[in-house]
């Protein structure tokens, strides 16, 4: 009851000094809105990073990499077999904790061409159908490779939309969908038939740019040209859209026929990717894979595993840093807001010394005076926090307008809660000193105060 009345008196006090209270709240408003907006932007950033991570095949993808044999096995290094299809088959048969195994045989420095147009794709790889699930691809047009394509090493390929854009023209320019199924292209001068094309993949950022028809690059003067040579773009989505896949056997027979020994083309794979059943079982699954590979490699450890854990850690670290710097800035504004509140509360009790004296004379204890000042301070802080929450929405919209190609900021309710709680705390801390000062006033001295 007393508490309710005290809050009411506090609100009245704030209402009496509307403008002053508003100015006082401003610090808290800025603090809360910057905290919430900052968290929203960081969350958007995080979403962008996770999106790219999934574009590269998801969190549960593990790469089996080649490595130099360990020093104690250095004398066996000529016998190291490297990663071959034997490993793939062995893993598939003998490692039940592993869900999919996808071999890849890549070709370096490839050019694909059609009708005088040349293009260097992100990668040209011979694969098994497992690659679809491994790298999270979906076919939009045509088909993927059949067992016959693989068996007969047919010259067929499946391409990403980026390759289509380069060789056949992009739908945006042509104004119509271009489906090059059945067309012939040349990979390093060898003719291949396109049998399928993947979906177009893009980040949220690129989608926004496309939908709003914004120019991501500034216009360049002179004839149209590509800027830079080779790997001009490290964007995960660009790489995903610019692949050319062929059957594994085709790659082996067509492009490695001139290598190897005893009439057998060089059999080493450029990549083996595996996916485990569940991330919780990552540790034992990798152990199982290692055991199998040690068998097939005759005990020579010329391979290791690279998981996405590192990338996740990296992302988390960057997110943490962004949060920290944003949090510090917002925390400083809140601190400044708190100082403002303390200042105004001190001024306010100085104005009300006589009133406090009256209240004490008619029976207010020091405790109730303390509570009243403290509640006033907290009420100012909380009102500021609520205004800050409203302002953060505006701030986020404003920031999205300012940089529309960025990832959409995501306002999180729990951050809002934390911000309000924190402002309440700031109100308490800012109110304590003025409240003590008010509570300690002697009734007679306060009554006589002019």
């Amino acid at each position: 009851m007393i508490l309710f009345n005290t809050i009411l008196i506090g609100l009245k006090e704030i209402w009496t000094h509307k403008f002053r209270s508003l100015l006082t709240m401003l610090g808290i408003v800025l603090g809360v809105s910057s905290l919430v907006a900052m968290a929203a932007i960081v969350k958007g950033m995080e979403n962008g990073m996770k999106e790219a991570m999934i574009a590269m095949g998801g969190l549960d993808k593990v790469l089996i990499e080649e490595q130099k044999v360990p020093i104690h096995q250095n004398h066996l290094r000529d016998m190291a077999p490297g990663r071959t299809i034997r490993d793939v088959i062995a893993l598939r048969e003998s490692a039940p904790l592993i869900r999919i195994v996808s071999p890849e045989m890549g070709l370096d420095r490839v050019m694909v061409s059609r009708a005088g147009k040349w293009f260097r794709p992100s990668e040209v790889v011979g694969v098994w159908p497992e690659v679809l699930e491994m790298n999270l691809y979906e076919l939009e047009h045509g088909r993927f490779f059949t067992d016959l394509d693989e068996e007969l090493a047919k010259n067929v390929c499946v391409i990403g939309t980026g390759v289509r854009d380069e060789l056949f023209g992009s739908p945006q320019e042509a104004g119509r969908e271009i489906i090059p199924i059945g067309e012939q292209i040349h990979i390093n001068e060898q003719p291949f038939i396109i049998v399928g094309m993947f979906k177009h993949y893009e980040s949220e950022m690129e989608r926004k740019i496309r939908e709003e028809g914004l120019q991501s690059h500034t216009a360049t003067a002179g004839p149209s040209r590509q800027r830079g040579w080779g790997r001009r773009n490290w964007n995960a989505f660009w790489r995903k859209n610019n692949v050319v896949y062929t059957p594994l056997n085709t790659m082996w027979v067509r492009f490695r026929a001139a290598t190897g020994t005893n009439n057998v083309p060089y059999p080493t794979l450029s990549d083996i990717d595996i996916k485990v059943h569940s991330l919780e079982m990552l540790e034992p699954a990798l152990q199982q894979a290692r055991n199998v590979m040690m068998m097939t490699h005759g005990g020579i450890e010329d391979f290791n595993f690279r998981t996405q854990e590192n990338q996740i850690e990296d992302i988390n670290k960057r997110i943490k840093n962004a949060r920290l710097s944003g949090g510090i800035i917002a925390g400083l504004s809140l601190l400044v807001g708190g100082i403002g509140i303390m200042n105004i509360m001190l001024a306010s009790i100085n104005e009300r010394i006589r009133e406090i004296g009256i209240c004490k004379a008619i029976g207010a204890t020091s405790g109730s005076i303390f509570l009243q000042i403290l509640i006033e301070s907290v009420v100012i802080a909380l009102l500021g926090a609520l205004a800050g929450l409203a302002a953060s929405k505006g701030l986020v919209v404003f920031l999205s307008e300012l940089a529309p190609s960025q990832n959409t900021p995501v306002i999180q309710p729990q951050v809002m809660g934390i911000a309000v709680l924190f402002s309440g705390l700031v109100g308490v801390v800012a109110g304590i000193f003025p409240a003590i000062k008010a509570a300690r006033l002697h009734p007679i001295g306060a009554l006589r105060y002019e």
Binding site: E355, G357, I362, G363, S366, P443, L447
Partner: protein, 241 residues
């Protein structure tokens, strides 16, 4: 037993190295229902006496008993409680809270007493009716005349039904006509059995009361006490406690 018992009460300040005996060994009894005036020139110590009697201040020496309760040694919190429950104040400058309306001002002591809202409203209206201001309940103090403000202050002073009502120069800020009306209100309250202690420097006002205590240099200089000497006879010798 008297309602209020002072025994050898002293209040000593040091102000700039100088020792000031604002009250010097004062003993005094006040019974329930008495209408007492404390009179003396400014600086005589009458305000100090009122502050100590009103539990706003504690004495340096001596004992005070109010309604059977020792208050010279009470804590600040206990004193606040006593002020709230047993004492009502009326000041020269009315001392109403300017931001609250009349009703809220009268309700305020009951808020600190923890009385529920409906009961507060009812009781406050009752008190306003008693002082004849029930139709001014929603006005701000600044919208009332001085006499009306003082009536509100009296209503506030009596709202918790205290044992004693202290009035410190209650007419000092009013014109003589209004002051007269306020004094009349006090007299009326007194006849209803209210204990009232009126502090003033004006002998004319003090004449209204049945008992006059004159303070000079921190001591009781003289008393007109109907119990000791009959009405209207001045006892010239200081009365020992």
């Amino acid at each position: 037993m008297a309602l209020l018992e002072l025994r050898n009460v002293s209040k000593i300040y040091t102000l700039g190295g100088e020792v000031i005996r604002a009250l010097d060994d004062v003993s005094l009894d006040i019974d329930g229902g008495e209408f007492v005036s404390v009179i003396g020139p400014s600086g005589s110590g009458k305000s100090t006496l009122m502050h100590i009697l009103g539990c706003l201040d504690s004495p340096t020496h001596g004992t005070i008993q109010l309604d059977g309760q020792m208050i010279h040694s009470a804590s600040a919190k206990q004193l606040a409680h006593i002020r709230n429950q047993k004492i009502g104040f009326v000041f020269q400058f009315f001392n109403l809270l300017p931001k609250m309306n009349v009703l809220q001002n009268v309700e305020l002591p009951m808020i600190y007493a923890g009385i529920s809202g409906a009961r507060r409203r009812e009781r406050a209206m009752e008190m306003l009716k008693m002082v004849g201001l029930e139709n001014r309940a929603r006005h701000r103090p600044s919208q009332l005349s001085g006499g009306q403000q003082q009536r509100v202050a009296i209503a506030r002073g009596l709202v918790n039904d205290p044992r004693i009502l202290f009035a410190d120069e209650p007419t000092g800020n009013l014109d003589s006509h209004t002051g007269e009306a306020i004094l009349e209100l006090f007299r009326e309250l007194s006849t209803k059995g209210r204990t009232i202690i009126l502090v003033t420097h004006d002998p004319e006002i003090a004449a209204v009361t049945s008992r006059r205590i004159e303070i000079r240099d921190g001591k009781i200089a003289s008393q007109v006490d109907p119990r000791l000497a009959g009405l209207d006879r001045v006892a010239t010798a200081p009365v020992a406690g």
